[in-house]
């Protein structure tokens, strides 16, 4: 087949050099009976590029892409415009098909962009140091809780009810092994009393802003209360564009920031791959999970970059590592850093303001509908509406009209009558009009 360079003649010559009669002689250590014949695999045989493309395109055509319909889905994944040059650059062979930069002499390209990425993330979050990325925002949040448990030598984590429920479940799945996980009850659109839950056993408080309903939270009072009890504040951001307009967690005394970077440079991809951002204070540096790139010099004194502080990592420390993490999100990190470079200070600020303006315009439009109420008084580019009918049924009905109306809160375990609606720079006036008309019809 087209991906195999070795011919039958090559096979013969190579077997002769090895001195074995056939390929299966090389599998002689496989136990008797465990070498399966081809017929044991009930799967199709090789196909040409054209046939594969046809089969997969057919599957893709059965989905409604965000760009092909008015789309208002958010809740942790956002439709943004990614400049064409981003996807072109990340597909350069030297980026796409290179390995983890363990041989720094021939991986300076990767190492330098990781160093630039770390700097951008630290600046954006208002923190002192950032790592070279984790899998996604949810796993970054789980790693943040585990790190807080290590730093404070306490087990208990308090999770805000406004934390994305998938994130909360991810945290609970791994961190509950080491302490109690307490999820605060939440009313959409208002902040719960987290301060009352903090005690002397608390390792950390985890707060998302804007939260899963879109509500902007003030982290500082919670951070102050946590610090007074010796606990850390973990700030979670699922819409990183918001930091172009909102006060960063670092300025609100957060100790660790765990964020989803998908919005910058990366497509929706039905949930992955995404890119987890992780930033903290310099004093916690050696407790950080994941890869770190650092500046150094080569034997001729020239500036260069290497993966560093790897004594924290699994391939050196084995069972004593800070995390078992090995792979990060290299290429998604590159997409993020290229897009962020194109934006720069001014571009990000304009993008963030545009997002907010679109969301305000949409919220104002939709709340004019009968019995539709805005429950999130302060928001960035996403807000929650209370509908007079179950939101899931409304969303399904509008999907039949090719409108992706948003995410029903019930999909995430929330109340039935709440609809989470996002608008970004990609949202047009026609999109808004379509949603407004569709909602009016379905709710009547």
């Amino acid at each position: 087949m087209r991906y195999h360079p070795l011919t039958a003649e090559d096979h013969r010559a190579m077997l002769a050099k090895i001195g074995t009669p056939d390929i299966d002689a090389l599998f002689r250590d496989v136990p008797q009976g465990a070498l399966a014949p081809l017929s044991a695999f009930d799967l199709p045989d090789t196909q040409g590029e054209m046939e594969v493309e046809r089969a997969l395109s057919r599957m893709a055509a059965k989905n409604i892409a965000s760009g092909s319909a008015p789309s208002f889905c958010g809740a942790g994944a956002y439709k943004h415009h990614v400049p064409a040059s981003v996807d072109h650059l990340i597909q350069r062979s030297e980026f796409l098909t290179s390995y983890t930069p363990y041989q720094p002499e021939i991986a300076q390209g990767t190492l330098q962009y990781l160093f630039e990425f770390q700097t951008q993330v630290a600046l954006l979050t208002g923190m002192e140091v950032a790592n070279a990325s984790l899998y996604d925002g949810s796993t970054a949040t789980a790693e943040a809780v585990l790190m807080a448990q290590r730093v404070t030598k306490r087990g208990k984590a308090i999770l805000s009810g406004g934390l994305h429920p998938h994130y909360a479940e991810t945290v609970e799945t791994v961190a509950a092994l080491f302490g109690e996980m307490k999820r605060a009850p939440v009313t959409a659109g208002s902040a719960e009393d987290l301060i009352a839950l903090i005690d002397e056993d608390t390792a950390c408080v985890v707060v998302q802003s804007p939260d899963v309903y879109g509500l902007i939270r003030n982290l500082r009072p919670i951070a102050d209360a946590a610090h007074a009890k010796g606990a850390l504040l973990i700030a979670v951001v699922t819409e990183i564009v918001s930091l172009g307009l909102l006060e960063p967690p670092g300025a609100q005394e957060a100790d660790i920031v765990a964020a989803e970077g998908q919005s910058i440079g990366n497509g929706l991809n039905f949930g992955g791959p995404y890119v987890g951002l992780f930033a903290t204070r310099e004093k916690f540096l050696r407790q950080m999970p994941g890869r770190l790139t650092g500046e150094t010099v080569d034997a001729e004194g020239r500036r260069g970059f290497v993966l560093t502080l790897s004594t924290r990592e699994q391939h050196i420390r084995r069972e004593k590592a800070t995390s078992n993490i090995c792979t990060n999100s290299g290429l998604c990190t590159l997409a993020f850093t290229i897009h962020m470079t194109l934006l720069g200070e001014e571009g990000l600020s304009r993008l963030a303001r545009l997002n907010h303006a679109k969301a305000v315009a949409l919220a104002d439009r939709l709340t004019k509908l009968k019995d539709v109420e805005l429950v999130t008084p302060a928001f960035f580019n996403e807000f929650t509406l209370r509908l007079p009918k179950p939101a899931a049924a409304v969303v399904d009905a509008l999907a039949l009209k090719d409108i992706l109306a948003g995410v029903p809160a019930s999909r995430l375990g929330g109340a039935e009558d709440l609809l989470i609606v996002a608008a970004t720079e990609t949202t047009t006036d026609d999109d808004m009009a379509a949603l407004e008309a569709g909602l009016a019809e379905v709710l009547s």
């Binding site: 070795l6 590029e49 997969l56 994944a77 002499e105």
Partner: protein, 522 residues
């Protein structure tokens, strides 16, 4: 004879080869490149309107200070990243013999398929009716993975190999607890294991007990059986193992651990040796992650993203994490909440937000459909054949620690052939860089002194293998003859000489800072 006619990264090459110092500091196609922070001059690479917003809806939380992000225009950004790319080695440019990493060809069809808007631009929480094609794709990939492994179930959401290991161990923990065996906390891990194995076991709250290797490179099955007991939760084996050998007593070890009440976790990093040839389910394995970025060729991307689905035995299947994919008369749907799960399912939790690495699923299925079962089998055979060809061609000049037997898809050498030469494994590997090759995996596995683990994969032509063999033979002969010039301080011809890793760790500089701040800090 041409030593290396297969090319090398676009630029790495000429720096320092007796060349005169240039005025610019660049050398031909080798450009030095500043950081974006040093290039920034307030330009913008995107066009957006300057919309004014009031503070009214921002809850008083509007940003006060500037961020400090650098800005450059699109042509400057393109040139910056293109120049950076040319400082990297890549599989597209040359053989990448990294043992245990499976750096094979990355077909571009797979990239094209992942970018179809129906996949690449699909929201993870779009209504179920709008995602039927995506769910069908996941279902199809699940069928391939379970059929190739001979296992009944697969958890799709883990985002990488180590994340898959964690998923497997959490399923084991849940199964033990469900049967009242929560006191079983010891996991047996061979000393030859990947570092992720013990790290994951500790991460999942287990204690790690190491099993020694035998002089022939296999796991000491008798020592393993002797360590089994009522507190053992599982064994974690890599098969084929990290010495590049298939474990001949794998079924015996599986039976022994099952008899002792434990589970068998298999590290699937080396599946590329046996895919389409051996079904792990036939060996008694209870859980195994599959690195889609290794065996099924989703690109490594400079260190990710990966994907690590975990196949599960009948006994572990009920404990698979959310979400679950189910099919009924109305089509496919995802079970995202414990309450909606079928009665037989007892999901242990959730590995991550949403449903896993869909972009990698598309690429992996594109690879599988292209290869077919016959092509997958051929890949494994060619990978094993190529590794044995390298072993047979080099064992007279380098030293193979485990004798004359065949290897699987990796050829392992130790450093005894360098004894007395003053050349170390590191020097040898770095000299390969000057010859246009990425080094092999070094100093791993730990059970071999100065290990060099070579995995050529099925993607290399015989001519390419012959060039590689020729270079390694000549290097080995020179080292043994005491001609060490090529090794002293190598590499000399790469974009950088050896970098000072001690300095980087002792005085960590992990972000750019404006010059005055930096001086103040020093």
């Amino acid at each position: 004879m041409s030593l290396n006619n297969q090319g090398r990264p676009t630029s790495a090459g000429y720096a320092g080869t007796g060349a005169i110092a240039t005025i610019s500091g660049d050398r031909g196609l080798d450009h030095e490149e500043p950081l974006i922070f040093e290039l920034a001059h307030g330009a913008v690479g995107v066009d957006f309107p300057d919309v004014k917003v009031s503070d009214e809806r921002l809850g008083g939380m509007r940003r006060k200070g500037v961020i400090g992000l650098p800005g450059i225009s699109e042509p400057e950004a393109v040139r910056h990243y293109v120049r950076l790319s040319r400082m990297n080695y890549a599989i597209d440019a040359g053989l990448y013999p990294l043992g245990s990493c499976t750096m094979k060809h990355n077909p571009r069809l797979n990239e094209k398929m992942a970018r179809l808007p129906g996949f690449g631009d699909l929201h993870p929480l779009a209504p179920t009716a709008a995602t039927q094609g995506a769910l069908a794709l996941i279902s199809e990939l699940m069928k391939w993975l379970t059929t190739l492994t001979g296992m009944p179930a697969v958890a799709m959401s883990p985002k990488a190999g180590a994340h898959g290991e964690l998923c497997g161990l959490l399923a084991i923990r849940a199964a033990l607890q469900a049967r009242g065996d929560g006191h079983r906390t010891r996991i047996l891990v061979p000393e030859s294991a990947h570092g992720t194995n013990p790290a994951t076991a500790a991460f999942a709250g287990f204690t790690v007990d190491e099993v020694p290797a035998m002089p022939d490179g296999h796991v000491d099955a008798d020592a393993l059986e002797a360590k089994l007991g009522p507190d053992v939760a599982a064994i974690m084996l890599t098969n084929p193992n990290t010495c590049g050998l298939f474990e001949p007593r794998v079924k015996e070890m599986a039976d022994a651990v099952h008899k002792a009440g434990g589970y068998f976790y298999c590290d699937g990093a080396n599946f590329n040796a046996i895919a389409g040839k051996v079904r792990p389910g036939d060996l008694g394995i209870d859980a195994m992650h599959i690195n889609l970025h290794k065996t099924f060729s989703t690109p490594h991307g400079g260190g990710g993203p990966g994907a690590g689905p975990v196949v599960l035995s009948e006994r572990l299947a009920p404990f698979a994490p959310l979400p679950l994919l189910v099919a009924d008369a109305n089509g496919f749907r995802l079970v995202e909440h414990r309450e909606e799960a079928p009665a037989s399912a007892k999901p242990f939790g959730r590995m991550c937000a949403f449903h896993g690495q869909m972009g990698m699923f598309v690429r992996a299925l594109s690879y599988m459909l292209s290869h077919g079962r016959d092509g997958v089998r051929q890949s494994s055979e060619d990978a094993v054949l190529s590794a044995n060809y390298i072993l047979a061609s080099l064992k007279d000049v380098m030293s193979a620690p485990f004798g004359d037997g065949p290897c699987m898809h990796e050829a392992l050498f130790d450093d005894s052939f360098l004894e007395g030469s003053g050349v170390t494994t590191l020097d040898f590997a770095k000299a390969m860089i000057d010859e246009g090759y990425h080094p092999m995996t070094m100093y791993f596995p730990l059970v071999v002194h100065g290990a060099m683990l070579i995995e050529p994969t099925e993607s290399e032509s015989r001519e390419s293998l012959d060039c590689f063999i020729h270079v390694l033979r000549e290097l080995a002969l020179e080292a043994k003859a005491g001609k060490t010039e090529r090794f002293d301080g190598a590499p000399r011809l790469a974009p950088r000489r050896r970098l000072d890793e001690t300095l980087a760790a002792r005085k960590p500089v992990l972000r750019w800072k404006p010059p005055p701040l930096r001086e103040a800090a020093e």
